[in-house]
Symmetry: C2
Amino acid sequence: MTDRTTDLLPEGLEDRLIQSAAAATRIERAVLDRLTAHGYDRVRPPLIEFERSLAARMDGVSRNHMFRFVDPKSLRTLALRGDITVQVGRIAATSLVEAPRPLRLAYAGQVVKIAGTALEPRRENLQLGAELIGTDSVAAACEIVELAIAALEAAGATGISVDFTMPDLVDVLADGPLPLADREAVRRELDMKDAGALTEAGGAAYLPLLFATGALPEALAELEALNKDGVLDSRIAAISQIAARVEGRARLTLDPTERHGFEYQSWFGFTLYAQGVRGELGRGGTYRIGGSGEVATGFSLYPEELVDAVKAQENIGEKVFLPLGHDEAAAEKLRAEGKRTVAALSDADDAVALGCSHRLEGSEATPL
Amino acid sequence: MTDRTTDLLPEGLEDRLIQSAAAATRIERAVLDRLTAHGYDRVRPPLIEFERSLAARMDGVSRNHMFRFVDPKSLRTLALRGDITVQVGRIAATSLVEAPRPLRLAYAGQVVKIAGTALEPRRENLQLGAELIGTDSVAAACEIVELAIAALEAAGATGISVDFTMPDLVDVLADGPLPLADREAVRRELDMKDAGALTEAGGAAYLPLLFATGALPEALAELEALNKDGVLDSRIAAISQIAARVEGRARLTLDPTERHGFEYQSWFGFTLYAQGVRGELGRGGTYRIGGSGEVATGFSLYPEELVDAVKAQENIGEKVFLPLGHDEAAAEKLRAEGKRTVAALSDADDAVALGCSHRLEGSEATPL
C-alpha cells in the first residue's frame, strides 16, 4: 500500500489513503474549528469560475498557472481555482459587500495549479485560511498572526516559526530619506543578498538591510540603522507589537526584504514553518482585495507536508468486531462512546485481518 | 445577501455563504462521522485524473459529462471528476488491492459535471458516500441501506424514504420462465409504465410488474404473480430481509423496473429521499467495479438540496464580543466551552452589528 500511484495518476497528483486521509481530515477540522471559535464564518465558493473573474482579482500574475477550459453553456473560459483567497475577496466585494466590517471569513478546500516545481511537485493542495476584511491595522495583523499560530497548534504542529517581512520597506525608504536611481535593481540585489552588487546598483545606503535578518529583536535593532528621521518608527513598532502578542508561542524571525510570494502584500507579510515539516506551511499578511481595493489581512495554510509528516503516526481509532448475531444495542452503545465497529457479514470475515483490536462478546468489547 | 450570484458565476455554480456553508459543513461531518463509526475509512482521491482512467471505469457513459483539458506535463487529457465512486474503485483495484475484504471505504468531496439539467441545474455537487468492496451479498445490501439511513439521520434529515429497485429483474424473468423476443422494447415500455404498449411489445406476461410498485410489502406480494417456479424466491427474500433490517426508520417502497441511474447496479439498487427536500438525496446498490470487475455495494449522498432546505434555520453559534483590553484567559475559557468570540480591533467595532449576542465583562459573558 502506498500513497504514490504515479503510473495511474498524473504527475503531482495523488490519492490520500487511509492514514493520510485521516490526518488531512483531522487537521482540516481542527483548523476550521479554531477559526470558527474566533468568530470566522466559513464560506464555500465553487471549484470553477469564469477565468476572467479569477484572473482579474489576481492582477493576472497567476493566470497562466490555472487549468482553463471552455464552458459549453456560456462559451466563456472557465478556470479551476488555484487560490481560494481571490474567491473570498470576490464574495466580500459582492454578496457580502453590505455585511458589517471587519468581516471575518474562513475557508477550506482543494486548489489546483497547472504545474508544480522541482521543490513543490504537488499540483493539488488543500488550502485552509481566514480573511479579516475591512482592516489592515496593526491590531488586525496581531489577530491574524496569533490565529495562524493557534490554527497550526490545533492541527498538531510543534516548533512553529514565523518569519516576518516588510514588503514595502524599500519603497518607504526610497520615497523618504534614501532615494534610489534604480529601485528595481536594488530590490533584486537585496533578494540575492549580494553586498557588492547592491553597492554597484547604487544601494550602498541599504547595506544594513542585509544584516537586519534573523531572530527578533536583534534584526529589528539592526533595522534602526536605517531609521532616519523616524521614518521606520511605526513599522518597527508594529512588528514589535505583533511579536509581543505571540511571544513564547513561536520562534520569530525577520527577513525584511523578502519579496517572493508577497507581491500582493502591503506593509506586512509572514511565512509559517513547523519543526519536522518540509518547506512552508502557509503565509499571510495585509493586502488590498483585487478589484474592490478594500483593505484586508489574512493567512492561508497548505498543510499537505504536515499531513505527510504525521500520517504514519495518525491514530485512526480502535475497531471492535461485531460477530454475526451480535447485540445491536451494545454495538450502538460502543459507537456512541466513540468506538468504531466492523460488522461481520459472513462466517468468513476475519476480525484481526479487518484491523479489529476487540470483539463484541455479549455486551462487552473484549481484546482479541 | 444571497447565495445566487448568477451574474458573477457560471450557470449552475454558486457560492455557499455563511448559513449554507455552515449547514454543508455540519452535514458533511455528521455523515463522515457516522461512516467512520461503522468502520469505514476515508480516502481522498484528487480532483483531476487522466480522463481515460476515469472514463474506463465508467464504461464510457458519463465521459462526455466531464470537463476535460490537456495536461501540459503529460500532454494527456485530464478530466475534472464527476463521481468519486469510480476513484474509490480505482483505489480498491490498485493501491488497496491487497487489503483484506470486505474493504470499507468512505469519501467526501466536490464533483463537477459539464451540464446540469432543467430539473437539476447545479453543476457542482458535494458527494459523500461509502463503499463496501468485495461483497454484494444480501448482508452487504442490508448494511449499506441501514448505513445510508443512519447517515441521513445524522445529517438531520427526517421523513426518510427508500425506494428499492431490482435492476436485473427483466433479465432474470426473460432468461427463465418468461422469454422475450425484444427485451429492450419491453424494458422501454416498463419504464413508460404503458400497459397497452407493453402488450404490443410482446410483454403481456410482464403486466403484473406495473402493479408491483409502491409500498412494501404490498408491492412484493404483487411480484409473487411473476414468481414462476420460484425464480424470484431469492430476490423477494432479499428485498424482504433488507426491508426488515430498516423497518420503522424509513418509508419503504418498490419500483422493481426503475432503470434510470441504475445502469451499473447488478441485482439491487435504491434511491433515498427525505421530507421537505426536493428530489433525490442519494442512491446506492450492488455493482461490479469497472476495470477490475470486483463486486461491491455502496451508496452516495448528494446533500445540496438538504443544505438548501435547512440553511435558513442553521445555527451558527452564539458570538461573544471581546472589548479592547479584555481578559484573554476568560476569552479562551469561553472558546473552550464552545462559545465563539469576536475580538474588538478598534473602538469603532460594533458588537451588535458584528452579530454578537453577548459581551465579555470581566470574566463573564453578559447578554447585549
